[in-house]
């Protein structure tokens, strides 16, 4: 049984518009059987935070193309992507890429 984990979940680049425009969310994930990873976090976000049009955030079991995932300000690709296990006080940032010029 893994203990509850407190993480900061942030949205930017427009992704926050799917979350009532709120950029910063302080989140406590309840204790559960397996450890929390990004895969579980996405499911939790979809269920608890996402306000509209989930297809603009989630695609399959990952984020949709064009959204960067940063774990403590570093690209999630450097840290195992969906399999990264959340640590207490981690900061997870979902940033939508801008194309305007």
């Amino acid at each position: 049984m893994a203990a509850p984990v407190s993480v900061q979940v942030e949205f930017g680049g427009g992704a926050e518009l799917l979350f009532d425009g709120v950029k910063k969310h302080q989140v406590t994930l309840p204790g559960q059987e397996e450890p929390w990873d990004i895969r579980n976090l996405l499911i939790w976000i979809k269920k608890n935070l996402l306000k509209e049009r989930p297809e603009l955030f989630i695609q399959g079991d990952s984020v949709r193309p064009g959204i960067l995932v940063l774990i403590n300000d570093a690209d999630w690709e450097l840290q195992g992507e969906l399999d990264y296990q959340l640590q207490d006080q981690d900061s997870i940032l979902f940033i939508s890429t801008l194309h305007g010029g």
Binding site: G12, G13, G14, A15, L17, L18, R53, E55, L56, Q59, R64, P65, G66, I67, L68, L70, D73, A74, D75, E77, L78, L93, I95, S96, T97, L98, H99, G100, G101
Partner: protein, 283 residues
């Protein structure tokens, strides 16, 4: 590329004296700027301040690409174009404004869209490329052309009250496709017409983009290769995040690239590079 240059003229020494005195730049750096050429893709909210400061700094040649004409609704952010230029091609308008600021800079306006047919030839004629475009197909096109031609790409974007800046394909760093292997679904992309943008936000980003170009052209090296600067204008906050490195399996810059010529990027992205009336959503 421009021919090498052995010395600065008396007028150049006077004109650039305030930056020649910087030990980090000096005469050597100024000579490198004077013999460098930069392709500016897009003469809008980012391209205007970028071209302005590159010309002021004494970059030797500026290629200015834009297929669009100046509209009144551009002027809150596209500060090189005046009211009198409404209806004129942005590439020509920008070239005229730059000529007034620094007549020694060679300006080459291209009043046409960058296309898969023309991009590679064009990019090969310049040392550094600045992506100031406003749509996804063009961003993939510019990146692939830079990889094929072996040119560094300084890329900025701005929307609403936010901006982003990074450098692609610089000395072994990632390219656009390394970071974004799959284009976003068309309905998830917002343009400036729909999402809006505060004019000074591309102003800030265009200046920072010009700074990265100047550092590359002068031999100082960029700050944002492999990292991404995020700017939140409402909170006045900057944040630098670390991107992945070059992917050895990248289809464009990887060890066995499959993108060996330019493609149909509108088909690849499922959206148009020039159609301003496409229906887009808020995100």
């Amino acid at each position: 590329p421009l021919p090498p240059k052995a010395a600065l003229s008396r007028e150049e020494i006077l004109r650039y004296s305030r930056q020649l005195v910087l030990p980090e730049l000096g005469v050597r750096g100024q000579l490198r700027l004077a013999t460098s050429s930069v392709l500016v893709v897009g003469c809008g909210g980012l391209g205007c301040p970028l071209a302005q400061y590159l010309a002021a700094a004494g970059v030797g040649r500026l290629g200015l690409v834009d297929h669009d004409v100046v509209e009144l609704s551009n002027l809150h952010r596209q500060v090189l174009h005046g009211e009198a230029r409404e209806g004129h091609a942005k590439a020509h308008s920008a070239a005229a404004a730059i000529g007034r600021l620094n007549s020694a800079v060679q300006c080459v306006p291209y009043a046409e869209a960058l296309t898969p047919a023309t991009a590679l030839d064009l990019v090969r004629r310049y040392d550094v490329v600045a992506d100031c475009s406003d749509n996804v197909p063009t961003r993939y096109l510019v990146s692939d052309a830079c990889v094929l031609a072996g040119r560094p790409l300084v890329s900025a974007s701005a929307l609403r009250l936010e901006g982003q800046l990074t450098v692609y394909h610089y000395e072994g760093g990632p390219c656009y496709r390394c970071v974004f292997p799959t284009p976003p679904p068309g309905e998830s992309v917002t343009n400036c017409a729909d999402g809006g943008v505060l004019g000074v936000v591309p102003g800030v980003l265009g200046c920072l983009q010009a700074l990265e170009v100047i550092k590359i052209a002068a031999g100082l090296g960029p700050s944002y290769s492999g990292s991404l600067l995020l700017f939140d204008a409402l909170g006045g906050q900057f944040r630098c995040i670390r991107l992945r490195g070059r992917r050895s399996d990248c289809v464009a810059c990887g060890d066995q690239p499959t993108v060996t010529r330019l493609q149909d990027y509108e088909a690849f992205c499922g959206s148009s590079a020039t159609d301003k009336c496409r229906s887009l959503q808020l995100l």
